[in-house]
Symmetry: C2
């Protein structure tokens, strides 16, 4: 499904050598208000389409009903002028990436966040490390706060070979000494909140595009991203309450990933966007009734663990307000049941 | 050269039936400051690329070293939010268009403003009617103030069949009665100022594009229009003082016209933009040392009359600050001489 070599599956990860890479991007997580997008059209179009004019290497833009979440490196962040329409999370975030260099021996085909639920997501949640997930067509980025890095390394170093990418070189991270190892994240453990979920009716596709053909879809992409929020359409969408506005574009280290529903997909030329050979459709589970914030830990773990237990693939996209898991359409009934059971147990 | 049927030439116009059409567009002439363009990227991209999202039918954007001149109809004008970066000329302007319906019998091949210098430009100048010219690949639009329309009709009705286009229909304009005929433009005749001219070194092309292929050049056009003014390039251009920044895009009644210098042209794919079969290059004569304003009459006449006398083709593009004539490259020496003589005479 991913263009990268298929990584080993969760059920066999302990038996293999797995690498965790700390990528060479220092990221900011921001949100632009719906009404403020116009003011940011100029820098955003530059970051999306004019690669010769920017040194930004990590850019992600996700539209949700609440706002536009923009995750980008410091080069990109410089392009966004402060205004009342721009909210910026205060931390610098670093993206982690799991790469398998062994042979997958399991029969499991599950991919995405499911694959790293037990090896990465659960241990970080136990150590009270907040994560911000960004699944793409190519891989899954696990964003952690730069200030949590020593805890992250200590937590994951037993199970992973950890490398830090520095200017294109992968430098092994030495095992930390006991003193560092003891410096755990100081946040208090809190009783895990089970958040309400929303399961909209849209079917989603996770797609990619040859960067050289990006100009060919430029006007369509611009239309969908910057001009699809006119009042008339909002009215028609209000009548169709079961669907949710969700569109995600990312351009990371030269790779493009797009997540959109089938209605948006119809606006694009069919021959340029590609998806996995199975052409799978995905359903969304939106996590959170009130905006989740950035400090609560274990939100991703709460949904990815049971998915891993059932060997169900999932993409996972965090945004400024809510988290979004995408599961295969054929699994949505069992996932819905699973989530119901989870809530029943929490209510006991 | 034009895609419209070749109109009759100036030297034979009196012998033929010529039609003057008052087009069904009510236009505003505006300018956006160089530093303010970012704030107008959102509406301008909509007007240029997203024809399904706007009812604007007349749009022209011209970048000069001073500013961006935007001429557009009322539907388009609604998209531009007032700000300190937007200057708006106070009048409503109507575009006139000369269409020949006879057979050209002259051997002259001159086109553009030259063709209408004696039939339209000179008589309007004599009646103290200000004109704002907009030559495109397809035709030459003569913009006059709506308040001058009765004077315009009275002035031109003897030589033209005048039609007013109303919702796609061409309605003949009845000859005005004596009372209206006497209502000449009240402006005072002033001694004709001979304005300084600038003749930059750039070579220009006047081109068109199938509107269906506009998406294919979208990122290049966006780059050239909205992102080519970064400080670095300004520095390099300052070293090359003999060239001038000039780029014009218009989308009028579905027809696209582009005027750019050969340096800008190289950024576009060669197979999509087309020009006349002769592939002629043009040199610019910029008219005006100080911004010309909109009230002085006879500026176009001053340069188009001698060009007509010499049967030299010319495009003519007025902008918010200055006027710009484009003449065939091979004629620039004689045009320069002609302009020198004109200035010598004025100095006597």
């Amino acid at each position: 499904m991913r263009s990268a070599p298929l990584s080993s599956t969760e059920s066999s990860w302990r038996a293999e050598a797995m690498d965790l890479h700390i990528l060479d991007h220092r990221l900011r997580v921001t949100s632009i208000s719906k009404t403020g997008l116009e003011n940011y059209t100029h820098p955003l179009i530059k970051l999306i389409f004019l690669r010769n004019r920017t040194r930004c290497k990590f850019f992600s833009l996700t539209e949700t009903p609440e706002n536009y979440t923009v995750v980008l490196d410091e080069e990109g962040f410089k392009e966004l002028q402060p205004s009342e329409h721009l909210q910026v999370e205060g931390s610098t975030w670093l993206p982690l990436n799991v790469i398998s260099n062994g042979n997958a021996s399991s029969s499991s085909q599950a991919v995405g966040v499911t694959k790293i639920a037990k090896s990465v997501i659960a241990p970080l949640a136990e150590q009270h490390v907040s994560v911000f997930m960004l699944s793409t067509y190519q891989t899954d980025f696990i964003l952690v706060r730069e200030t949590d890095l020593s805890v992250v390394i200590h937590t994951l170093q037993e199970e992973f070979n950890i490398y830090r990418e520095v200017k294109g070189e992968s430098v092994p991270v030495q095992g930390q000494n006991a003193q560092n190892g003891l410096r755990k994240n100081g946040r208090e453990a809190s009783h895990a909140t089970v958040h309400p979920v929303l399961i909209p009716e849209n079917q989603f596709c996770v797609m990619s595009l040859d960067p050289d053909t990006l100009p060919a879809i430029a006007t369509t992409l611009i239309d969908v991203l910057f001009y699809s929020n006119n009042p008339k359409e909002d009215t028609s969408q209000a009548q169709d309450l079961e669907c949710i506005k969700f569109f995600s574009f990312s351009l990371i280290d030269g790779y493009i990933s797009l997540v959109m529903d089938t209605e948006a997909q119809r606006q694009f030329p069919a021959d340029l966007l590609f998806t996995s050979s199975s052409g799978e459709l995905w359903r969304m589970v939106r996590i959170g009734g009130q905006p989740l914030g950035f400090d609560e830990c274990g939100i991703v773990a709460q949904i990815s663990q049971p998915l891993a237990d059932s060997d169900i693939s999932a993409y996972y996209i965090s945004t400024f307000s809510f988290d979004h898991a995408l599961v295969p359409e054929e699994d949505i009934v069992s996932v819905t049941e699973m989530l119901k059971d989870q809530r029943k147990e929490a209510a006991r």
